[in-house]
């Protein structure tokens, strides 16, 4: 029997090796998880010493395993059986809450990239069940939990102040802390979360007088009935970003270009970061719509502001500016000589698209990836507007805050 035991063990390891090494990877995985899968890492001394090589190798094995989506579904079933909802700070609630987000069209209604007439935001399909008596899964609500960290919020303000002290006085500096969805979801959810406006006001109160706060929170709050945030993703929509753009315009004293100067496009079928983990079939049947707004007043840009994949099923939040890059630089045909420098996380991506036509030059820096000096950029562009954009959970992330500080 001992031999059989060893054969079973050896056989199972061999099966695992076949799944990982020999069988083709799951073509559905990329769509299923809504992200790019890890490619085979190249061994270099540098990648080995930085521990990246083995880290990426592990992810490569997992990402490219045969039947990955099946294993993920299995893991999800087990997670549910164990009462686990979602890891980390993500939470998912299934409840009969409407919350004003409504239901978006089903996959069956996916029409690809369509040019639609201007709408106020989201669509509600009248054919779907709705209300207290309906199947509770139809009202799946996803949101990022926000738990404040006062010490780090203070540090965030200090880091911004350190920039103010070192950049040329001629640079106008702005701080926009983007709220996340749960702030606008009503009392029931407020109890399980910290006050976002509390943190934003704390940060603003600590900012150097030379930094102008941008009140995106109230700009969104005043339009809480709109499709400001994706239901299934942790980001805001282009409409959420549009409201924040108005808040910036008010703070910067510029005339915002209104939405009626834009053509609206819609990409259906987007399942965002928060819902991917659930793989709930009803959630999958009620995806978000990504609305894109294309400027229609003759202004042109030196780069495409939208990155639309050929297969629209792959479209995700990265359609805005093509996702996060260490540094992006582009110009518009608006030759007013103004430059905007944005130091940001991914929340800024749709916002920059609204901001861009107001400036001749736009420089976008992501301190999580950029290895150059942000101060140097400001020295070269000493008349620029400098805007810091981070979503509010960033003010609880020590590593990220120090990355911003280190990016000076």
């Amino acid at each position: 029997m001992e031999k059989i035991n060893l054969y079973v063990f050896g056989g199972m390891i061999a099966v695992l090796m076949v799944i990982i090494f020999l069988l083709p990877s799951d073509p559905q995985a990329e769509v299923f998880e809504n992200r790019v899968m890890q490619t085979r890492p190249t061994f270099t001394i540098e990648s080995f010493v930085s521990r990246e090589y083995f880290y990426n190798l592990e992810n490569y094995f997992l990402d490219n395993s045969f039947g990955r989506t099946t294993w993920l579904r299995f893991g999800d079933i087990v997670d549910r059986s164990f009462g686990v909802r979602l890891p980390g700070s993500m939470m998912v609630y299934f409840g009969a809450d409407d919350l004003g987000y409504g239901l978006v069209p089903t996959l069956a209604q996916i029409g690809g990239l369509t040019t639609a007439t201007l709408t106020t935001g989201y669509n509600v399909d009248p054919n779907l069940p709705f209300g207290e008596d309906s199947n509770f899964h139809d009202h799946a609500v996803f949101f990022l939990r926000y738990i404040e960290d006062t010490e780090l919020a203070i540090r965030y303000a200090e880091v911004l102040n350190s920039f103010r002290r070192e950049i040329p006085e001629t640079v106008r500096m702005f701080s926009l802390v983007a709220p996340v969805k749960v702030a606008f979801m009503g009392e029931r959810y407020a109890a399980a979360n910290s006050s976002q406006i509390g943190t934003i006001e704390l940060i603003n109160s600590l900012l150097d007088p030379g930094i102008i706060p941008v009140d995106a929170y109230h700009a969104l709050h005043n339009h809480a009935e709109e499709y400001l945030f994706f239901r299934t993703d942790h980001h805001w929509t282009a409409i959420g970003a549009y409201r924040a753009y108005h808040a910036f315009a008010a703070a910067a004293g510029i005339e915002p270009i209104t939405i009626d100067n834009y053509l609206e496009h819609a990409i259906h079928g987007f399942i965002g970061s928060l819902a991917i983990g659930t793989q709930n079939p009803i959630v999958l049947a009620h995806p978000d719509i990504i609305y894109l707004y294309e400027l229609n007043n003759g202004t042109t840009f030196s780069t495409d502001l939208f990155a639309i994949p050929q297969n629209l099923a792959y479209a995700d939040y990265r359609v805005f500016l093509g996702g996060d890059h260490p540094r992006i630089e582009f110009s518009s045909s608006n030759q007013n000589g103004e430059t905007l420098v944005v130091v940001k996380d991914s929340f800024a991506n749709p916002l920059i698209i609204w901001l861009a036509p107001n400036y001749e030059n736009v420089i976008v820096v992501d301190p999580r990836q950029y290895t150059g000096s942000i101060l140097e950029i400001l020295r070269e562009n000493y008349n620029a507007d400098l805007l810091f954009v981070n979503y509010i959970p960033a003010t609880t992330m020590r590593e990220l805050i120090e990355q911003i500080y280190g990016g000076r």
């Binding site: 029997m1 001992e2 031999k3 059989i4 035991n5 060893l6 054969y7 079973v8 063990f9 199972m12 390891i13 695992l16 090796m17 799944i19 990982i20 090494f21 080995f48 010493v49 521990r51 083995f54 190798l57 592990e58 992810n59 094995f61 997992l62 395993s65 990955r68 294993w71 993920l72 579904r73 299995f74 893991g75 999800d76 087990v78 997670d79 164990f82 009462g83 686990v84 909802r85 890891p87 980390g88 700070s89 939470m91 939990r145 738990i147 404040e148 109890a191 399980a192 979360n193 910290s194």
Partner: protein
């Protein structure tokens, strides 16, 4: 590299076993060499820079061991011992405690290099060796190959158990991998993998949701459920890792001592600490407590020193010291006041007492932030102003059936059932292994990557 990673299961382990067993058993030195090189690769995958440290530190201790033996009984041997211990403790202090100690005297620096994985384990092994050579309990190991193999052996390198040299010295020169031994090792490894992947990860996911949260939104039910889940997570995680280490050791012919003996079955805290992380307790008993005078003089002080050190070993933070001292105080109280009572009362009451004390201990252990700890302690004792919250109730109801399963698998019942089945139907062993492996592999691919808790220490 962790045992529950794909890199280990589909790459490292098959290659290692193929090469190791390709070497005929009579060439044990060659097998040792294969084990050594594999261990260094295993370590370097996670610690590419500090692998140098383990080689250097082992080389120094190997040399000092030989010199101590040569001059045993003379003052020079004591000097060598002190040098070796200072070097080992110096490394630990440098990497693990320097920020903490400087912080106490008001100097705040950020010490860039992260704590090298496993340093708390392998420095204790080399110290046990040097002290035993000095005392004449073991002969110095003359072969650097064998010594480095002992220190760096991958099954127990990164998260224990702490193997005293005296317990494996003969196996470095003479051991065999029998069919029965390899089979037992495989079963033990598989059981450990299951504990980690099936139980610990899930308990951990729920504990995190309930404990890594604002005290303002938490509640008594939330903290109790969270800490109960952590109670199971840390046991399944750490004892699962020890099972895998012992199993892998067995496959290559080593018999490591047990590190856990169903600690949650204990009827007193004294009993608990004889069953939890046994190798650490033995180290402190043999190499600190007894040399300090043990039971013979200043016993109370000795107990408190040992427990402060036990706490400190777990991390450079006040909560770990507090956790150690908390158990020190409980053990003293048990020794002088509770011992008789605990043996007289019904076993069920003794169990409840142990579970409560241990549970509160994990609460101290979990929170490194004092403010958060105090706030959560308020909830723990029902003084937080909120008895229950939405999330806690939801998770409690979802886990009603899970908690008894975790509880049963923390006891000897499953292993007794398994041994009975194995006796009646031998095929149940491979069937069980197949089931656990299939389940674990599917979960491993279908879960995000997780590391073991004890890698932090």
């Amino acid at each position: 590299m962790v045992f529950s990673s794909m890199t280990f299961l589909v790459l490292f382990l098959p290659i290692f076993m193929a090469v190791y067993f390709a070497v005929p058993a009579k060439y044990l030195n060659v097998r040792n060499f294969v084990l050594l090189i594999s261990s260094l690769i295993f370590y370097a995958a996670g610690e590419p820079v500090w692998v140098v440290l383990i080689i250097f530190s082992s080389a120094v201790d190997c040399l000092l061991g030989i010199l101590i033996e040569k001059h045993r009984g003379k003052r020079i041997a004591t000097v060598m011992l002190v040098i070796s211990l200072c070097a080992s403790l110096g490394l630990l202090v440098l990497f693990k405690y320097s920020e903490f100690l400087l912080g106490i005297i008001g100097i705040n620096i950020t010490f860039a290099p992260a704590l090298p994985i496993g340093i708390s384990f392998y420095t204790f092994q080399t110290m046990s060796y040097i002290i035993d050579v000095y005392r004449g309990r073991v002969a110095a190991q003359k072969s650097p190959l064998k010594f480095l193999t002992y220190v760096s052996m991958f099954p127990q390198l990164v998260a224990g158990p702490i193997i005293a040299y005296i317990d494996v010295q003969h196996m470095l020169s003479k051991r065999e991998s029998t069919l029965a031994g390899v089979s037992q090792g495989v079963t033990r490894f598989v059981m450990g993998l299951g504990k980690k992947v099936i139980f610990a990860n899930h308990a951990g996911a729920i504990a995190t949701q309930l404990l890594d949260t604002s005290a303002a939104t938490s509640s008594t039910v939330g903290v109790w459920l969270g800490i109960t889940m952590f109670f199971f997570q840390i046991y399944f995680d750490f004892s699962g890792y020890s099972d895998m280490a012992i199993g892998l050791g067995k496959i290559v012919g080593f018999d490591f001592k047990e590190n856990f003996h169903y600690p949650y079955e204990s009827k007193s805290i004294t009993d608990f600490w004889r069953r939890w992380h046994i190798s650490l307790g033995m180290f402190f008993r043999n190499y600190v407590y007894i040399p300090l005078g043990g039971n013979r003089k200043r016993q109370l002080l000795n107990i408190m020193i040992i427990w402060a050190l036990t706490g400190l070993w777990h991390g450079a933070s006040f909560n770990f010291i507090l956790w150690g001292l908390y158990f020190g105080v409980i053990l003293v109280i048990e020794k002088y006041y509770l011992k008789g009572i605990l043996t007289r009362i019904h076993a069920a009451f003794a169990h409840v007492y142990v579970l409560f004390v241990v549970m509160f201990g994990w609460l101290i252990f979990y929170f490194t932030d004092l403010g958060q700890f105090l706030a959560m302690t308020g909830h723990f004792f029902g003084l937080g102003g909120q008895i229950t919250d939405h999330l806690a109730i939801e998770l409690f109801l979802a886990n009603l059936w899970v908690l008894p399963i975790f509880a049963i698998f923390s006891t000897q019942i499953p292993i007794k059932v398994f041994n009975y089945l194995k006796g009646e139907m031998p095929v149940s062993e491979p069937v069980l292994n197949f089931t656990i492996l299939a389940f674990s592999f599917m979960l491993l691919i279908g879960q995000s990557f997780t590391t073991f808790i004890y890698f932090r220490f």
